[in-house]
């Protein structure tokens, strides 16, 4: 340990080290120790071990912060920070990555593209998310974002012989690279305005400036554009439906919860940190993006026949709800966004899990008609799908209600009655297209008689997502308290 790498630095970095270490280990063990296809379950076990070590590191940070009664722990001269916010999101990433890995094993076997790299990419992408949630420096955040995005570009194109997957990866790569360019431009202007890459120092420099300064406006607009791209908010959502549809379903699940949650964490860090004093300038932009996301997402989802595309548009509309929490800007709103992201993680994973479980030889399972009569074939999965769709629509007693409740409450507390009413009206539209899936499951007869083939991993993942979706809805208090601690000061 030296002055450049103190014990605190190490303590803060442990989860990321574990994720990177096990990610690289899986990459090498894939051809070195476990070359046989049957031995791939050991790679999955290694992933679980990596998550366990990362979780242990995170738990130690958690207990240390709670035990010392401090708000945050900074490391690397303020480049990384551990606070309630980063802990909240990192716990969520561990849950998301583990559930995705559990449901991937059989799916990749069926697709015939089962490679060890997949598990290593899951861990490395999560490592990027770790830096997005706990970075407090523009360069750390940007490198974390790129680490996550690069892993996702590869994973989206993982079905190498499938043209749709290749097309999706190419579109995602080009538009993702384009948006990163915007973000880097905005960051360079922020650096130029403040002379520092530390978020706290940028905040001080921006607070001293005139909010109508054209350079500040340019920096803010370009940064906002880059961030909106990453959370797939309208008008920068074009990549989402194609990427979601073409990617392997398990990757779509990971993309829709992991990447989105990490990008939201990143967005909150930037807007509630350095740009907080320029709220008057960015608030109209976010109001526009939120309403546009709700409109386009909900209306375009109505006419979709492919479930993955439908969920892509639904995910765009959920980005709109999350932005509304930030627009409200009060304590309830930020807490609401945190709860919303948590709820959305479990719920969306549950929906994708059912689509993944449907996949078998000769059935893709991503068309709404493929779900026909699911109630008669496997009532358990039909029930899970129903619970998760109710939760996505925001109907009690599922978790989605709690998420939407806090977003609407925060808007009303902030006096934004029109926004609250508009957002509530779009729930009605959402119920229509979610219930098209429900109707197909419960009211139509099965088109093919083949039974679902599930594995232990898929069943465990199903139980976890179902418990998460119902549990947060019925016993929200511990989760709300946890989210309340995650407020950025």
């Amino acid at each position: 340990m030296s002055q450049y790498y103190t014990a605190t630095d190490h303590f803060v970095l442990v989860p990321a080290i574990m994720l990177a270490l096990f990610g690289c280990a899986i990459l090498l063990f894939d051809f070195w120790v476990f070359p046989e296809p049957k031995q791939r379950k050991w790679l999955l076990a290694f992933l679980a071990l990596g998550e366990a070590f990362a979780g242990y590191g995170l738990w130690q940070q958690h207990t240390y912060i709670a035990g010392q009664g401090i708000a945050e722990l900074t490391a690397f001269q303020g480049s990384l920070v551990v606070d309630g916010f980063s802990l909240f999101f990192n716990w969520m990433f561990i849950a998301a990555a583990s559930i995705v890995a559990l449901m991937s094993y059989r799916y990749l076997e069926v697709e015939g593209e089962h490679h060890g790299e997949y598990y290593s990419l899951i861990l490395l992408a999560q490592c990027g998310m770790y830096f997005l949630a706990s970075g407090a420096d523009l360069i750390t955040l940007f490198v974390g974002l790129e680490l996550m995005a690069l892993c996702f570009y590869i994973m989206v194109g993982f079905l190498r012989s499938d043209k749709r997957s290749n097309e999706a990866a190419m579109k995602y790569l080009l538009l993702g690279g384009f948006s990163s360019g915007f973000l880097a431009y905005g960051f360079s202007l922020l650096y130029g305005l403040s002379g520092s890459t530390k978020l706290s120092e940028i905040g001080v420099a921006i607070a001293r400036r005139d909010p109508a300064d054209p350079v500040l406006l340019l920096a803010m607009v370009t940064t906002t554009v880059g961030l909106l791209f990453k959370i797939s908010a309208v008008p920068f959502h074009m990549w989402a439906p194609d990427a979601y549809e073409g990617a392997p379903t398990t990757v779509t699940a990971y993309l829709s919860v992991g990447s989105k949650a990490a990008s939201i964490a990143f967005l909150l860090r930037i807007f509630l940190g350095p740009l907080a004093s320029a709220r008057a300038a960015w608030e109209p932009l976010l109001v526009f993006a939120a309403i546009a996301s709700l409109t386009v997402g909900n209306l375009a989802a109505i006419s979709q026949h492919n479930i993955k595309r439908l969920l892509a548009y639904s995910s765009i509309s959920h980005a709109g709800y999350m932005l509304l929490g930030l627009v409200a800007g009060n304590e309830t709103g930020i807490k609401g966004v945190a709860v919303y992201v948590l709820v959305y993680t479990f719920t969306n994973l549950g929906v994708f899990l059912v689509i993944v479980a449907l996949r078998r030889e000769g059935l893709v399972g991503d068309n709404i008609d493929d779900l026909a009569g699911l109630m008669h074939k496997s009532p358990g999965y039909a029930l899970l799908m129903l619970i998760c769709l109710l939760s996505l629509a925001g109907i009690p007693p599922t978790a989605g209600f709690i998420g939407k409740y806090y977003i609407f409450l925060s808007l009303i507390q902030a006096g934004r009655y029109v926004l609250a009413a508009a957002a509530a009206l779009y729930v009605a539209v959402a119920i229509y297209y979610y219930f098209r899936i429900v109707r197909s499951m419960f009211m139509s007869d099965a088109e093919d008689a083949g039974a679902m083939e599930t594995t232990f991993g898929v069943r465990v993942a199903a139980a976890l997502t179902g418990l998460g979706t119902l549990g947060i809805g019925i016993f929200p208090e511990p989760f709300l308290r946890f989210a309340g601690q995650s407020l950025i000061r």
Partner: protein, 131 residues
Amino acid sequence: MPESYVELYFPVFLQVLIAMAVAGGMIGGSYLLGRKVKNRIKDTPYECGITPTGSARGRFSVKFYLVAMLFILFDIEAVFLYPWAVVYRELKLFAFVEMFIFIVLILCGFFYIWKKGALDWSQQERPPEER
């Protein structure tokens, strides 16, 4: 301390102006003063003095791109060695350990592409189990 953006960026503006003047002057000067000979040989692309053969639209083996990309990746990693070498004396043991970890990670990647056959130029078909 310069007061406004105009004052701050005036040297940059001046430099851009001079650069454009130099470039324009060179091209314009040779255009005005030089002899103009037009023939077919002169219109062919310059290929380091070798007579060009065939069309530029020919197809290359995808291996060229793979090797080129891998080269760029490792080349960029090597660039990090220079700033490291500059500050090595100040950072002492920390710099050594840091670079050791960095090199080990690069070697992980190198070992990976090696074993996956990305460097194997003569290999015609990949083994069937890898597809």
